[in-house]
């Protein structure tokens, strides 16, 4: 009971000096306070993520997954590697959902070497297939941060702007001085972030600090998922990147039928290798420059290199640029309206209620998070528009 005024204080008093707040409960566990800290960090992100910031939308992200011996540890069920790969599948789907014109590539590191799992590509299918297959791979040896970062930085240095490392081991076996490599990465303006699975490792701290990335260590599987999802949002553009015009094609979907006089069956340029795919089809998307055919968008034309997208793909990323305004927070005691959340219709029982400044409807804490993280538009505002 007397914890309540303390909690209210913490809420209003800002987020510094979190170590003062760590208190043990009767059994000596810190779990409740840690959960609290996490929850507050989540709310802080909602406040901070505010609009009118230039973002890097056409992202090129490389994910480096540690496959060393420490990934066989069973603190994540069934073992760290399986759990990581499963979460990666989810991450890849979300990533392409939120950033349709971006690309991802995956690298694994074990036995002091780095191996490429998939190339940088904009199609999620290949990545998902490779991740599913990788569950059977063995975890052996030590990882090598240097080799995996070097693999990424070397060939296509100018394109890659982000690297995410999932690092479980506490050591790394490098053939050369990693601080030199950090300097190179800085020169190439590559941002490296790390998600640690064991503990904080100094070299990762320095790596992320120097390149401007973030470093977090997971507590458990749900926290791992949350940290991964943080990287789905496009990051703010670095100060030196200039705006450039990018050429894109917007092909129309053509549907033809056999009765058309000039029906031309054709192969999609991506289906030439596979034998199982449908093969000859009548319709599809034709590249406006070279007339090559594709069945899905977005895609980079294999023949002429033009990026082919549809307008909704670009529009889908708009909510990053024009995010929903944060709702006004008022303590429950001060709120004098109906005690029901607008969206879930549940009784308002939390400490605070959230009010949309535009339509004046109230929401509970969970709905507020859902609206800001997933929906990106206020249900109250949408309703009022319709009935006007």
């Amino acid at each position: 009971m007397d914890e309540e005024p303390e909690r209210a204080k913490r809420w209003e008093g800002g987020y510094e000096r979190t170590w003062e707040v760590l208190k043990e409960d009767e059994s000596g566990s810190l779990k409740a306070t840690v959960e609290d800290i996490l929850f507050q960090a989540k709310r802080k992100r909602v406040f901070e993520g505010h609009g009118q910031v230039r973002l890097g939308m056409m992202r090129h992200l490389f994910v480096i997954i540690d496959s060393s011996r420490s990934m066989e540890d069973q603190d994540l069920k069934p073992n760290r590697l399986t759990s990581t790969l499963k979460l990666m599948e989810f991450f890849v789907e979300e990533y392409f959902d939120q950033n349709p014109i971006s690309q991802i590539g995956i690298i694994t590191t074990k036995n002091k070497r780095a191996e490429k799992l998939t190339d940088l590509a904009g199609n999620p299918k290949k990545h998902l297939a490779a991740l599913k297959k990788a569950v059977d791979s063995t975890c052996v040896g030590e990882p090598s941060l240097y080799n995996s970062l070097n693999c990424v930085a070397l060939p296509s240095g100018t394109d890659i702007k982000e690297i995410l490392v999932i690092f479980s081991s506490l050591t790394t076996c490098d053939p050369a001085n990693i601080y030199e490599l950090i300097k190179t990465l800085n020169a190439l303006k590559i941002r490296v972030s790390v998600i640690g699975l064991s503990a904080e490792v100094r070299v990762c701290t320095i790596l992320t600090r120097e390149t401007g990335g973030s470093y977090n260590v997971i507590l458990d599987e749900s926290h791992f998922k949350e940290l991964l999802m943080l990287h789905v949002k496009p990051p703010p553009a670095s100060s030196s990147s200039e705006c450039s015009l990018i050429r894109m094609g917007f092909p129309q979907h053509v549907i033809a039928s056999m009765s058309d006089q000039d029906a031309k069956p054709s192969f999609s340029m991506l289906h030439l290798d596979s034998t199982g795919e449908p093969g000859l089809t009548l319709g599809g998307y034709y590249c406006p420059q070279c007339r090559a055919k594709y069945t899905e968008l977005p895609v980079e034309c294999k023949v002429c290199g033009l990026t082919l997208v549809s307008a909704p793909h670009l529009a889908r990323s708009f909510h990053h640029l024009f995010p929903l305004e944060a709702f006004q927070e008022t303590p429950l005691e001060e709120y004098e309206g109906e005690r029901f959340c607008e969206t879930c219709q549940g009784e308002l029982k939390d400490k605070c209620v959230f009010t949309c400044l535009a339509c004046k409807k109230v929401f509970c804490v969970e709905c507020d998070l859902f609206i800001h993280d997933t929906l990106h538009c206020c249900p109250g505002c949408m309703q009022t528009d319709r009935t006007s």
């Binding site: 510094e16 609009g51 910031v53 230039r54 690298i107 002091k112 070497r113 780095a114 490429k116 190339d119 040896g141 030590e142 080799n147 693999c151 070397l154 060939p155 296509s156 050591t171 076996c173 490098d174 053939p175 050369a176 001085n177 600090r209 401007g212 703010p236 553009a237 100060s239 549907i255 039928s257 056999m258 000039d262 029906a263 031309k264 069956p265 054709s266 192969f267 340029m269 030439l272 290798d273 449908p278 093969g279 000859l280 089809t281 009548l282 319709g283 420059q289 070279c290 007339r291 090559a292 055919k293 294999k302 023949v303 002429c304 290199g305 529009a315 708009f318 640029l321 024009f322 319709r386």
Partner: protein, 569 residues
Amino acid sequence: SLLTVCVMHISSGAPAASDSTILPFLSVAMASLSEEVLLVVKRVRQRKQDGTLYLMAERLAWGPEGKDRFTVSHLYADIRCQKISPDGKAKIQLQLVLHTGESTTFHFANESTALKDRDVAKELLQQLLPKFKKKANKELEEKNRMLQEDPVLFQLYKDLVVSQVISAEEFWANRLSLNSVEHSLSNNNKQEVGISAAFLADIRPQTDGCNGLRYNLTTDIIESIFRTYPTVKQKYAENVPHNMTEKEFWTRFFQSHYFHRDRINTGLQDIFSECAKEDEKGLKSMVTQGVKNPMVDLLSLEDKTLDEGYGTATVPTTSNSSNKSLRENSNSAIIKRFNHHSAMVLAAGLLFFFYVQQERHQILTSLFVAFQVKLQEAIEYDDLQGDSGRKTISLNLKKSDRYSHGPIPLQSQHYSTSQDIINSISIIQHEMRSYKPRLTQVMSSSAASSAITALSPGGVLMQGGGQQTINQLVPTDVQSELKHLYTAAGELLRHFWSCFPISTPFLEEKVVKMKSNLEKFQVMKLRPFQEKIQRQYLSTNLTGHLEEMLQAAYNKFQAWQTRRMMRKT
């Protein structure tokens, strides 16, 4: 003298053969370049003729006495291995065995220095041969491997190169550069690998049941041992395969006292006793060099104890070795060994780091910076500081409401705004609310049912699902041949489109060449296919799309040509 290193111009009449096919072959190229000569040995006989042996940067050559041309010349890359005549034989010889199976024998005939000559030559070859072994065949192997692994690529090669649409060089030109980037990631040989600090512990001996131990050595571990202990590498090179097999070498290694803890120099005729001495020397030199970092005080790390649990006090160190107990001696031996091991592991990894930083003032400035950083770290603690936050650039959009509605189309289209749609929905809702059925003015039932049939799946107006039938109409072999044509055409078109925008004369030439390649492809591959399917009475236009793609390329070429001519006039 034997070890002259000079630069000499070599010329010869033999023409250089070029690599035009993917079949492996022997290169008999003698380029007229200046190559660095590493070793000259006089009085070397070959086929009963006196002459001089030259070891150069990339090849080995022999010329008869008095003439300045070489009769024998082999690239190191072509030499598979070398053999020497056993000690004790009257004739001191060195034989080179080439990849083709041929062998050349050199007889060192200088009475006084023959053995020395031969050994010097042999050692130099020993160092040079491994460097070149991989290079020459690597490209051919790579090409072969790529063709074997990827049947699509092989088919493409057959379609394009074998039928002479494009030349082999063009085919490989883009391919190799693409794939070498990818292969540098997957080809483990190219990755430099660090040395794990625990590599000796990883060997993990297992008991094999009869009082013996099995050691499992992988190539990684062997490489780590060689890099950390270069003397062992030297011993290996000297003894294997002449004096003992690899297995024997490693057995002796693990048996020797060198490897085991109690490294007491028993003075045995162990091949590894030298290694121990070298290590001692190395350790002593490291100690005398000391540490250049003023922030590190190694002397404060001594063991000082009063008694168990009673803290520390400075005890006068007894540097007199006779006072030390036996236990202290073996303890210090282990500690010395660990220190040496760590020092060697670090040194092996950071070798070139030291070479780079050899300028004295560079060392001083870097130390100064390190000093400042260390002080900074000692007085400040990052976690205590507030989050400085990342500097973000603000978005500067003019007319941001354009993003909510989409662009205005250039053609005059009837464009309904969202407001129009909302209005029309509310009008329909209103009409629905006040709907009264007027049964005298409806359609006849036959008209209604025919409309429904037409709009059901499979009906006249719902022909979108036509792809099923296409796949069944066209036989599979025709389809697969068409797929090959698509792959080949795609490849050619990709080369074509990659030339734009044309900025250099090289690209101009390339684009003209690619256009003619496309025309060749159309004539040589596409037309015969079209005729074939016409003979099979297939009515569908299977090559229409390919022709469309080729036409788009021709149009682009046309446009570029006209623009170029307009610029010139």
